[in-house]
């Protein structure tokens, strides 16, 4: 039995019976009339069912179409949101790059300043070292030097 006929078991059974009776052919005019009336009644009933099912199929298609349209709207809203988020991410990435560059520049300056401080400190130590040497160890040379500068010798 096909899937279609399984959905209409009663109608299919009636059709088979009506066909079988018609093939026998030995019916009285009264029996023919009764059989014909039964066919008309069943046909009318079937027509109503088909009408209802067709209407319902249309309603269900409408419902499906509404759901599809709603999904389409949601999809658009979602892609617009994603686009906005992507732009926001790009802006934030640029900001991060900018900050990283500023940090690199700052580190570079700090390195140079550190080096300069070391040089200055070294020079200062050398100068102080010399001064200490002449003040406390080679004091005579210091005195001679001061006298030379002042023109006393």
């Amino acid at each position: 039995m096909s899937q279609q006929t399984q959905y209409f078991t009663e109608e299919t059974a009636f059709l088979a019976e009506a066909r079988s009776r018609a093939e026998q052919g030995n019916l009285s005019p009264q029996e023919w009339r009764e059989a014909y009336e039964a066919i008309i009644n069943n046909y009318e009933k079937l027509l109503k069912i088909v009408e209802v099912l067709t209407n319902q199929a249309t309603h269900l298609e409408n419902k499906l179409e509404k759901a599809r349209a709603q999904l389409e709207l949601q999809k658009k809203a979602l892609s617009s949101e994603v686009e906005g988020l992507e732009k926001q991410i790009q802006v934030q990435q640029k900001e991060v790059h900018k900050r990283a560059k500023e940090r690199d520049i700052l580190y570079d300056r700090m390195g140079k300043t550190r080096m300069m401080l070391i040089v200055i400190l070294t020079a200062l130590i050398v100068v102080v070292g010399f001064m200490m040497y002449y003040l406390f160890i080679d004091t005579d040379r210091m005195i001679r030097f001061v006298k030379e500068v002042r023109g006393l010798e």
């Binding site: 209802v52 319902q56 269900l60 409408n62 499906l64 509404k66």
Partner: protein, 124 residues
Amino acid sequence: MRNLVIEPTSKTPKVILNADLGIFEITGRSIPEDAIGFYRKILDWIEEYGKSPLPDTSFKFQLEYFNTSSSKCLLDIFRKLERMHKNGHKVTIRWHYDADDEDMAETGQDYQALLDVPFELVPV
């Protein structure tokens, strides 16, 4: 008689047919590929129940979506309930639908027009 309870899936509705508690419900979504296979046991259960039903049977249907083959199977269920009604038993079909869902309301109206059994449309 034994109760019939079918848990819902993404394609089939929840079914509670409990003659002890007088609960008869089909709720959810019905889009099975083999609608006949799914509804066969429900139809058989109702056929059996129809032999000695409760004094008052109220059948609740609350479906958000169903395919055309389920639509025919639902009609078969309604026909069985209609037969019970014609046999003198008190039977009411309650078609619950979302108040905003015009399509499901009209679907209920289509069934209502076709059947000769008390058929209530219940917006929720």
